[in-house]
Symmetry: D3
Subunit: 180 residues, 6 copies
């Protein structure tokens, strides 16, 4: 197991670790359990139909991590896979990337993800050497926007019809943090 | 020659055509002639060192056009290559893309590019079926921002440190047009 | 829509355009309607089973066009897809290629294809810079041979057992036109 | 050493063998020695500049042999590499291919190549299952045409400006043999 | 047919030849007939379900032969495909490879394979220029070990749990022959 | 930084971490400093000519780690890159792999590598699920063999002329550890 960050939240031990193929089953179980809630704002959750889909996804993440295209991490809470957090769309040229995350329902509401994102920001700035991180949240996704605001991201704009899912165009809030 | 749009501006015949390898020399001549002005906000102009670089670029554009990843067009003014206009970063999933353009100094100031971009917007909405077009202009690039404003793009945000070139982070104005 | 040639025949407007994925349905409809007649001398018509096959074919043509391996064009008659005409097997080294074509039954007998091939010959010689064009027609395919003869191609040879389709070897007439 | 045919000519033992990388040096020596004569009608002889070029060519031939795209053979005379003979442009669909050959000057005039081509025709018909073999010879290449005629190939046509080399278009005689 | 070795054993003519796609049916028939015996120590025999699997295998062998990664040969006995013998895992850097073989039941017990392996060793040392050949035999596979011993391979070690098949780890005897 | 093992040796903190491109310079410095000693038994040390070679090597290791082909780790001693340890040639089918390692001169003689290899064995058995690990050491490489023996690897055989480097065949001692 490759650990890049470890901290305590609410008496729980949280580790951010490299995704491993053997985590596929427990991550898939989380997605199945929370599919409806997750899929509202994360359309990929609808497409994750079998454990093999999760295995394939993990393999892709491992390869993108290897070439510094993505920094995808599994969030372990007391040793259990609880969600993922990542920096994707990394541009080494423009020294920027985009934060993404999701957490199983059972783990929400205790500050786990806020602290995990804080740890990832530190990794992205200090270890990857990025200068700017974007964070896009669906305008209706209050919990996601709350994380951005709690971590002092700057709200840059409401992007109209930025993405299309479930057959509809959706507005996204764009937040940015610059490493100054 | 594959023409997708043709119009008159200021007594000049303007055609938007598919890039052809045999246009490489005249496009390269334009870049050489205006390199300093172009490169201020378009760092690729610095890297375009030989005609072969232009040939390679045209070949890549042709292949991206073929798969609807880009709609890259050469602007011909009275039969002479005068610049390029394109929709790049096309996402068929989110039905969006991003407008780009440059025009040789000798052709500027006559409304050629404003009309070329107008024609490309029409192609992008009517033929490619896109729903939204972004346009990013360096905050200090007054002529480029003027085109966006003249065409009634909506100014969405000033994006701080969005790109890095010539060793410095630069702010970009983000404009959007939605096909309503 | 990318137009490379436009002319009037018999009060009809004929355009030769770059193949687009969205033309797949109407081209496929033509093939389905005329399948039996087309397939007699064009065995691919037998294999074109679904619209997706036509989509895949168009994608391949677009990529071959992009690298100047083929010049494949859709024939539009009053805006309707009516057939295709192409130069395939292009050799830039030997400056030659081979003409191919097919037209829906409903459009035949009015000189449309003869004029379309004439336009393609002009494009091949003037824009692609080719020196010689071959044209192969099944010896029993009278209408196809008539086009070659009407356009003053030189009959070079009857090639015995040149191709095999429908389980039989077939003789082909070889015609050539040199750009002198 | 993989031998596919062996026969005696004029008290010499001739073997047709699979090309091996270790034959590169002796084949290259032949090309260097006869370059001027060979290159008159075989422009590749001009481009074969180093032993590594010959090594690369042999590697390509081995891979084309492996997939039945070509049947390329080295002609050994009393154990010495003396030239090559091949069937290239093999079409399993149309059951045809095209014969090619060259022989070092020192080995010419004794019927070696005529017999080698005869052996290859037999292999092509009996083992590859081809139905038709073409043979193209430059109209001015009397020795090459003599082989075709000696083996009773049918002269099909004189193909005007069929290929371009040394900056000029050249006429080729097309011969065919059908396995009846 | 490409022959690289030919010899008599017990009044039978044995040829070692390049694998050809058209041998797939007869090789497959052998595997089907002897599947149970073969599969005990050669787990691939279990996976060879259709003639197409054999065709695919032959195509891979032909491509590995082409690049000197493997020297895979079909054993013909009086013209009938009787088995295969090969040098695989060839390392040109370390000048070594590993011998493999299998023979149909009906052909066993007459010294055919012992002589075929002897011929392959000679080819590997003299033509491929290898310095060392390994041979691995399942410890329980008496006939295979007998071939190694009859040919004076040196027994190097019993490798515990070297491979896993049929769900169990199996011990392998490692034999080596060095070209001194 | 991704840490998969951490321990104290001789008052030093040792961490086994995922290779990162930014470690290239310090690893390269180690190789340059110890090149002569390293290259005696590790011929790659001779080929590592520039920092870019080390960067390329790290990129390959990252990609092999991503697909579980290798488990390559950098050894950090008090935060300084001191060497590498790995499991390579991983076979998931046969559940085995091969241990490799090197350590800068300045760090040798304190048990760092013995403990690092012990940690990697544990990772290989417990996390990768391997069943057997091989370890090959040049017969003359006393320090390397000492590590194998200290960790209770079983000596299986002396492999004659197993590898070739510096133009000579070298004997290797083969050690194995099975997870029982």
């Amino acid at each position: 197991m490759f650990v890049c960050s470890e901290f305590m939240v609410d008496n729980l031990t949280v580790k951010l670790v490299l995704p491993e193929v053997k985590q596929a089953q427990s991550l898939f179980n989380l997605v199945v359990h929370d599919r409806k809630k997750l899929a509202r704002f994360l359309p990929w959750a609808q497409e994750m139909k079998t454990v093999q889909d999760e295995v394939d996804f993990i393999k892709i993440m491992r390869q993108q991590n290897a070439v510094y295209q993505t920094l995808a991490l599994v969030v372990l809470v007391d040793g259990q896979a609880a969600g993922m957090v990542d920096v994707h769309n990394i541009s080494l040229k423009n020294e920027c990337g985009e934060i993404g995350y999701w957490l199983g329902q059972a783990y929400q509401g205790r500050g786990i993800m806020t602290n995990a994102v804080r740890a990832v920001i530190k990794l992205a700035f200090d270890e990857l050497g990025l200068h700017r991180l974007n964070l896009l949240a669906d305008h209706r996704n209050q919990p996601s926007r709350a994380i951005a605001e709690r971590l002092n991201f700057t709200h840059v704009a409401l992007l109209r019809d930025e993405v299309k899912y479930h057959g509809k165009f959706c507005d996204m809030d764009l937040y940015t943090m610059i490493n100054e």
